[in-house]
Amino acid sequence: MIRFISLDVHNFALYPDAHLVFSTDQAHPVTLIRGENNSGKTTLMRAFLWVLYGEEGLPDVPNVMHPIRPVWAGSERVRTRVELRFEARGSRGAVINYKLIREATTKAVEGIVEYEEEGATLLLKQADGNWGQADDQLFEMLMYKYFRPELRDFFFIDADKSVRFVGGPEGEHDDSLMRRTTSQAIYSLLGMDSLRNSIVRLEHRRTDFLRQVGRASRNVSERQIAADLEELQVKMQEAEDRQAELQSQVGDMQAELREAERRLEGDIAKMTASTELNGRISDIEDNLSKARQRRAEAISRLSSLIEGDDRVAAALMFPAVEAVVDVLDPLYRAGKIPPTELTLLPRLLREGRCVCGILFKDHPDRRLEVERRYHESERAGNSAHFLGNVLETARRLANHALGRGVQAWAEDVTGCRDELAELDEKINEFDSERDRLISQRDAAISLSEPVYRERLRHVHELRLAYEKSADDLRTADADVRRLTGDVRSLAERLRVAQTGERRSRDLRDAADVADDLQRVLKAALEVIESRQVNELSAVMNRIFRDVIGATPDSNFSEVGLREVPGAVGPKVQYEPYSLDGEGNDKPLAMANGASRRALAVSFVLALAETTGSSVPFVADSLLHPFAGGVLRRMVGYLVDGRRVGQPILFGHTHDFSDEEIRQLLIDSAGVTYTVTSEAQVGGDVVRAAVHRQHARQSVICGCGIDEYCDVCEHTGYADDPQLKHRDQSPVYC
C-alpha cells in the first residue's frame, strides 16, 4: 500500500512554488483539486508524472517550450524541483516514509530549451527522524512495485487517456491499441506480468540449475575418488615407512662408513710412516751402493795387486832371482856378459885405430886379428846378450821384490785391505741399518697393509652400499613427495567432487523448488486468469451497471473482459467487450464518445477496485464527461473510500456544482484546493503571488468546493450563490 503525503513544486511550469498536502484520512480519503479550465490543474498532474518518471513521463504540451520550464523565465538557467512525499508499507508491515526529489535545470538558447543536470533522489525517514538517502536498488524496487512506467497513464488518468482502454476516441478506434493497453493494465495490476516473468525466470533458473547439476555430475564419482584416495594413502604410508626405514639405514651406514674411514685414516698414517722409512731406506741404500761401488773399486785394485803385479811375483820368486843375480853378476863384472869385444871391437874397426893407438891401415895384421876376435866373440855374443838381459831383468825384479817396490805394493795392499775393512764394516752397518729399517717398515706394513687393504675394501663396499641406500632414499623421498602431491590433488578432487555433489544436490533441490514455485505460480496465474480476470470483468460490468447506470434496454447492457489470442506468442490478450440487452455482441468500434468514456471509466474503476488500494488514484477531469445521475454515482463510488485507494481528483468547478455531489465531496474530501490563474482573475489575485509579474501564473488556495477567497476569487465567483467567501489569508499560496 502506498499513500501520497504531499507534493512541493518549485519553478515548475506555471508554478513558482506550490505545496499540496494530500488527505490520508480514511474517513475523508478524497483530495479534491478544483479549478477552471487553464488554471493549472493538469500542470500539477504533470508535476506528479515528472517527479516519478522524469522527462520521459511528460506528454508534449502544445505551445509550450518545455513542460517543466517556468513560463515566466527568459533565457536564464532555471533550476526546477519537485518533491513528492509518500509512505509505503514495507515487507514487514511497517510504514516507511519516503521523499522523492527530482531536480533539473533548463535554459533557453535561441528559442530552444536545453534540459540538463536532471537528478532524482529517494530519501527515507530513518528511526531517528532524519532523512537518509536510499540506494538505487530500493528506488528501482519501489518504482517497479508501485509506479511502473507502463501503468503511468493508469495511475494518473484523465478521461481522454482512459479511452485508450477502449481503442481511442470516437472515430479513431484501434483494436490493437485497445487490446495492448487493456492487457498491459490487467497483466500489471493483477500481477500477471510479474507471475509470468517469475515463471519464466523460474524456468530459466530451473534449467540453469539442471544444467549445472549436469556439469557437477560429470565429475568422477565421489565414491571412486574416495576409494582411489584411500588406496593412494595406503601407498603413501608404505612409501613413508620405506622412507623412514631407509633414513634409519642410511644413518647407520653413514656412521659405520665414518668409523671405517676413521680407521682407514689411521692406516694411511701408518702407511705414511712407512713411506718415511722407505725414504730412509733409500738413503741408506744409496750409501750402501756407493760403499759397494767403492769396495768394488778397492777389490779391483787389490785384485790387480794380487794377480797382475810383477812385484809380488818377484817377491815370491825372489830365491830364483837372487840366485840368478848371484851367478850372473860376477860374469857381468868380468865383462863376459855382455862380452866387451862385441862393443869395443866394432868401434875399433869403425875408427881404424887400436886401443893402443896404432892405425890399422898401418898395421893390417892387427886389423885382421881384431876382426878374428870380433867374429869369435860374435858367436858367443847371443848367449852373453841373453844372459845380460836376464841379469838386467833379474836386478830390476829383485829391486821390485825388495825395497821400495814391494814396500809400495805392501802399502797398497794394506791400504786396500784397510779400506776394504772399513768399507765392509760400513756396508755391514748399512746393511744392518737397512735391514732394521726394512724390518720396521715391513713390520708396519705387515701390521697395517693387509688390514688396510681389507679396510679399504670394506670402506669401498660401505660407500657403495651407502650411496645405493642414499639413492634409494632419494627415490623414496621423491616417491613420498609425488604421492603427497597425488594425495593432495586427489583430496582436492574429492573435496571438489563432494562440493560438486553437495552443489549438485543443492542445485537439484533448487531446481525442484523452482519447479514447485513455477507450478505454484502457474497455478496462481491460472487462478488469476480464470478467476480474477473474470472477477475484474464482473466488477467492470457491475460498475458499468451501477455507476454508469446501464440497463437491459441500453445499447450496452453488459460489458466485461474476454480473452483473445495474442498477437505474438502464446500470451493471452484481453479486450473489453459489450453486449446489448439481447446478448448480442456490440463492437466497441461502433460506440460513441460518451459510451467509450463510460466503458473506459468502468474498466479503470474496476481495475482500481480489483487491485485494492495499493496505489493512489489520481484522476484528472475524469468526471468532466459525466453529468447528472452518472456523475453523482461516480463521485459516490470514488469517495466511498473502499473501492479505490487514496482518490486524488482534479476537477472543474462546474463538475461539482450539483448540490448532491458537492455535499458528497464536502463530506468525503479531507483536503480541497482551488487552483486559480490570471486567466480567471485578472490582475488582482495574481498580484498576491510571489512571481506575479508574469502572466499565466497559477496559485493555489485552500478554498473548499463551495468557497472562494481573495486569492481564488474570479469573475463570477462572488456572484455565485453556491459559493461563499472564505475570509482568511491564503495560507497555501
Partner: protein, 168 residues
C-alpha cells in the same frame, strides 16, 4: 824387451788333475757360464793361478816334479784362440827360473819349450802347496781375495825383511 817370447810358438800349460776341484773356487772365470766375483775368486784366470803356483813353489823352495803330469788347461801361443795376455814380467821370471835351474851355460835357458816344461813341473809342485796354504787361511766369512792378500802380504813383508840388507 822380454828375455824370452813365449807366444811365438804354442805351449801347453798344465795343472795337476787332482787339484782341479780345489782350484775352481779361487778362479773367477769358469768353464761354464758361471762367474765368481773378484773378492771371492782372487785369481782372474787359470793361468794366474798356474803362475802363482810356480811362484809359491819357488818361494817355498819346493823342487819341481820330475815330469809334468798335469792336466792341460790352456794353450799359450800365437793362435788367436790361445791365451794372449802373458805379461812380460811373467816371461822374465820364468826365464830367470830357467837360468837358475838349467845353469847359465845351458842352451835350455833360451829354449821356451824347456822353460815352459820347467814351469809346468814347478806349477804341479806348487799348486797343492798353495792350495793348502790358501785353504788353511780360508774363512767363509772372509773373502778369498783377502785371504790371498793377507798371505802374500805377509810373505812379501817377511821376504823383504829378511833381505833388507841386500841391494841389486
Amino acid at each position: 824387451m822380454p828375455t824370452l817370447t813365449f807366444t811365438g810358438s804354442q805351449h801347453r800349460l798344465l795343472l795337476p788333475e787332482e787339484v782341479k776341484d780345489r782350484v775352481a773356487p779361487w778362479i773367477q772365470t769358469q768353464p761354464t757360464t758361471a762367474y765368481r766375483t773378484a773378492d771371492q775368486a782372487p785369481f782372474r784366470r787359470m793361468i794366474d793361478f798356474w803362475f802363482s803356483s810356480i811362484a809359491w813353489a819357488v818361494s817355498q823352495e819346493a823342487a819341481p816334479v820330475e815330469e809334468a803330469t798335469g792336466r792341460f788347461f790352456v794353450n799359450l801361443g800365437p793362435n788367436p784362440n790361445d791365451i794372449r795376455s802373458f805379461e812380460e814380467w811373467r816371461a822374465d821370471l820364468l826365464t830367470i827360473l830357467a837360468v837358475r835351474d838349467f845353469g847359465v851355460d845351458s842352451a835350455d835357458v833360451s829354449d821356451t819349450r824347456k822353460v815352459i816344461d820347467l814351469a809346468n813341473r814347478y806349477a804341479e809342485a806348487g799348486a797343492p802347496l798353495l792350495l793348502d796354504r790358501l785353504e788353511q787361511s780360508a774363512d767363509l766369512a772372509l773373502p778369498r781375495l783377502y785371504v790371498v792378500a793377507d798371505i802374500l802380504g805377509e810373505l812379501v813383508t817377511e821376504t823383504a825383511a829378511q833381505r833388507s840388507d841386500r841391494s841389486f
